[in-house]
Symmetry: C2
Subunit: 384 residues, 2 copies
C-alpha cells in the first residue's frame, strides 16, 4: 500500500445557508480544495452525505457532484454512514489512493439540513438509530445520547458542569474560526439553564443542524512532493462497527467501535495516544466528546469530565480538542463533519489556523461517529 | 492489481414481501451467499442501497448489516448511486479485493420499497433525477424515460411493438426463475393496451417496485482455487458519470455513460462485444434495454428494436438478454438490482440456471444504470 498525503483542503462556511443549494455548497468547497492543491483534475471522488434525499429531495449525488465542478465522466462514489458519512468518505479516499487504484482523489462531505423544519430533521436524523428496535418506540437521537450521559454520570460521577465545560470550550474556539456556524461565547450557567432536550442534556449540550461542505485532495508521495504545497500525511485510518441499537451493548459508558477504530489507526500510523498534539472529536453532544476522549485513550476511563474541567483539552491545554469549535460551534452538517475535521487538522499541522492555532502541532487525530457509535472512524495525520 | 473471483452467490426472492424487513432480506441473501462460498467470515462488506431512509426509516446500514449476520466489528461500506447502487457496490467490492485491501468481500444489494404507497415511491425514486432542474417542474422518472423513447422512435423508427417485445421476452424468461417477482407470461397486445404511464410507455413497459436482496462473495485467485466451488472471474469493471439532467445531454437516444463504462470494462477484461454469451441489462423501462443493447455495442445504433423483434435477444437467440427476467419480471428493488444481475450471470456461467440456462455461456455482462444514465456500471464475468 502506498503512503497517502493531503495536498489541498477547502471548506464552505457552515451555517443556516438558505441562499445556497447542496450543489452550490459542494462546488464551493471542492473548487477551493482543488485550488489549494493546485490540481484541476482528479481520478475519482468520494462524497460522504447522510440524507440528501429526505433533506432536499436529491439522491444520486455522483453525477451532480461530477458535473458541478466539470469532472464528468469521472467516477464519484457516494457513501453513507449516518453522521459518520464524512469519515467513511475519508477512509474510502485513503483506500483508493493507498491501493494504487487512483492517484488524485477528491474527498468530500456535504449536507444541507435547514430546508426542512426541526421536527422533520429529528425524524431524518433518527434513521441513524435502529428503526425497528429504538425509533419505533419513540426514542429520539438526543434521548439515546442522554441515556449514555446518565450511565456515565452514574458510574464515574461525571457532572452537568463538566458536560457544560465541553460546550463552553468549543464555543470559545469557534469564535476564532471564520467557517464556524456559531461564533459567540457561552458560559457554564447558560448551558445549565438552557432549554432541556433530554435530561441531562439541554439545547446547548447539542450540536446544531447546519448546512455546509468540506473537501480534501489526497494523492501518493511522488505527486505530493511535486505539488509545491505544504503536505500532510494521512498516516492511519481505522473503521469499526458496533451494534446499531444502544441496548445491545455491554457498556453504555464507552464507544467500543471508537476504541477498535483507534487501535487500528494508531497501529497503522505507528503512533500512540500521548503523541497526539491536536484532535477533532465528534462532540455531537457534550457527553460524546467526554466519552471519545476516554475511548481514544487520550485520558483514562472516567477522566473525560475532570480533564475537561481542568482545561486539559483547551486550546492551550495538554491535548487541545476541537480547536475549530467542533460540531457544537463550527456546526454539524452531518455528512460534512468527518471531512471538516480533517480540513481543520490539515490546517493546524500546516500552521495556518490563525487565532485558533495549536502551538507546535505535528500530529493530529480526527474522530467521527455514525449514530450512537454503530460506526466509528479514526484518522491520524502527521506533518511532514 | 489482483484478479478477482466470485465464489458464492445468494439471493432472496424478489416481490412484495410484507412479512420481511430490510434486515431480514439482507440476512437471507448474505447467509445464502456465504454458505454457497463456503466461508464464514469476510474482511469487509459493501452494501448498495438507494433509499432505505425514505422507504423504511433506516439509514446507517453498516452496523445493521454487520450485526444481522454476526460480522461485527467488520467494516461495511454503504454506497448509493440511485438504481445503480448495486452496480456501485460491485465495483467497490472489486476495488477492495483487486487492490489487496481486503481478501474476502461480501457485496450486497438490498431495497425494501413496498412499505410505502405508489405516490410516495414515485417521489422517492425521483430523487435520482435532478431535483432543481427536473423534478421541481413536475417531471417523473417514467416521463424522463418516455422522452428518451420518443427521441429513439423519431430518429430510428423504433416502434411500440418493438418496445413491447422486450417486456414479453423478459416475462417469458421470468417464468423459469423461482426468484422472480412476476412469473407469468404476457403478450404484445397486453403491453400495448395496458394503462398508459407516460406515452409511449404503459405500465407493462415499466419495471415494478419490489423488495429484495442479492449478495456475492468476492476473493482473489488463491482463495478462489481453494474454495472447491466452481469459480467465475470478475474480469472487468467500468463506471462513468454523465449529466444528472436529461436536457443537458447532446443525444437523448443513447447513454454516453454506458458506452464509456463498457469501453473501460471491455478493455480491462480484454473482451469485445461479440464474445458476450449472455447479458443482464438494465430494463427499468423497455426502451432502456433497447438503448443499452446499442450503447454496449451488442447491436448497431438504432438496431435495438429490430434485433429484439427478430428474437436475437431471446434465450435461444444470438445474445440472450435478461434470462433472469430482468428488472421487468425478476423485479427491481433498486439497490439490489445491480447485484442480482451479477448473481444471475454467475449462475449462468456455472451452468446452474435451470430452465432459463443459456447454452455454452462462458462470458457474461451486467449493465446497471443510475437514474436516466447519470451513472452507468458495466461488469464482465468469465467462466474459468
Amino acid at each position: 500500500m502506498r503512503d497517502v498525503y493531503a495536498i489541498g483542503v477547502g471548506i464552505h462556511r457552515f451555517g443556516e445557508l438558505w441562499d445556497m443549494s447542496l450543489r452550490d455548497l459542494f462546488g464551493a468547497a471542492a473548487l477551493a480544495a482543488l485550488d489549494d492543491a493546485g490540481v484541476e483534475e482528479v481520478d475519482a471522488a468520494v462524497v460522504g452525505c447522510m440524507a440528501s434525499g429526505p433533506f432536499v429531495g436529491q439522491d444520486h449525488l455522483a453525477p451532480l457532484c461530477a458535473e458541478a465542478i466539470g469532472l464528468l465522466p469521472t467516477p464519484v462514489i457516494r457513501v453513507e454512514a449516518a453522521c459518520g458519512s464524512g469519515g467513511l468518505a475519508l477512509r474510502q479516499g485513503f483506500v483508493e489512493v493507498a491501493s494504487g487504484v487512483s492517484d488524485v482523489v477528491l474527498v468530500a462531505g456535504v449536507e444541507k439540513m435547514t430546508d426542512v423544519d426541526g421536527a422533520a430533521a429529528t425524524d431524518i436524523l433518527a434513521t441513524a438509530a435502529d428503526q425497528e428496535a429504538e425509533v419505533f418506540h419513540g426514542v429520539s437521537f438526543p434521548a439515546l445520547n442522554a441515556m449514555m450521559a446518565r450511565a456515565h454520570m452514574e458510574r464515574y460521577g461525571t457532572t452537568p458542569e463538566q458536560l457544560a465545560r465541553v460546550a463552553v470550550k468549543n464555543h470559545e474556539n469557534g469564535v476564532a474560526n471564520p467557517d464556524a456556524h456559531f461564533r459567540m461565547r457561552i458560559d457554564v450557567e447558560q448551558v445549565l439553564s438552557a432549554q432541556r432536550v433530554a435530561e441531562p442534556l439541554g439545547v446547548l449540550d447539542c450540536a446544531p443542524r447546519s448546512d455546509g461542505a468540506a473537501c480534501l485532495v489526497l494523492c501518493p508521495a511522488e505527486l505530493a512532493r511535486s505539488a509545491g504545497r505544504p503536505v500532510v500525511r494521512l498516516a492511519g485510518t481505522g473503521y469499526a462497527t458496533d451494534t446499531l441499537a444502544l441496548h445491545s451493548r455491554a457498556d453504555l459508558t464507552t464507544l467500543a467501535s471508537t476504541t477498535r477504530a483507534a487501535a487500528a489507526a494508531y497501529r497503522m500510523a505507528g503512533i500512540s495516544p500521548p503523541r497526539i498534539d491536536v484532535a477533532e472529536l465528534h462532540d455531537a453532544f457534550t457527553i460524546t466528546e467526554i466519552i471519545a476522549l476516554e475511548a481514544l485513550g487520550l485520558v483514562d476511563a472516567g477522566q473525560g469530565g475532570p480533564a475537561t474541567e481542568r482545561g486539559e483539552t483547551a486550546l492551550d491545554g495538554r491535548v487541545p480538542v476541537n480547536p475549530s469549535g467542533g460540531l457544537k460551534a463550527r456546526g454539524h452538517p452531518v455528512g460534512a463533519t468527518g471531512v471538516a475535521q480533517a480540513v481543520e487538522i490539515v490546517r493546524q499541522l500546516r500552521g495556518e489556523a490563525g487565532g485558533r492555532q495549536v502551538r507546535d502541532a505535528r500530529v493530529g487525530l480526527t474522530h467521527n461517529v455514525g449514530g450512537v457509535g454503530g460506526t466509528s472512524f479514526v484518522h491520524i495525520f502527521s506533518a511532514c
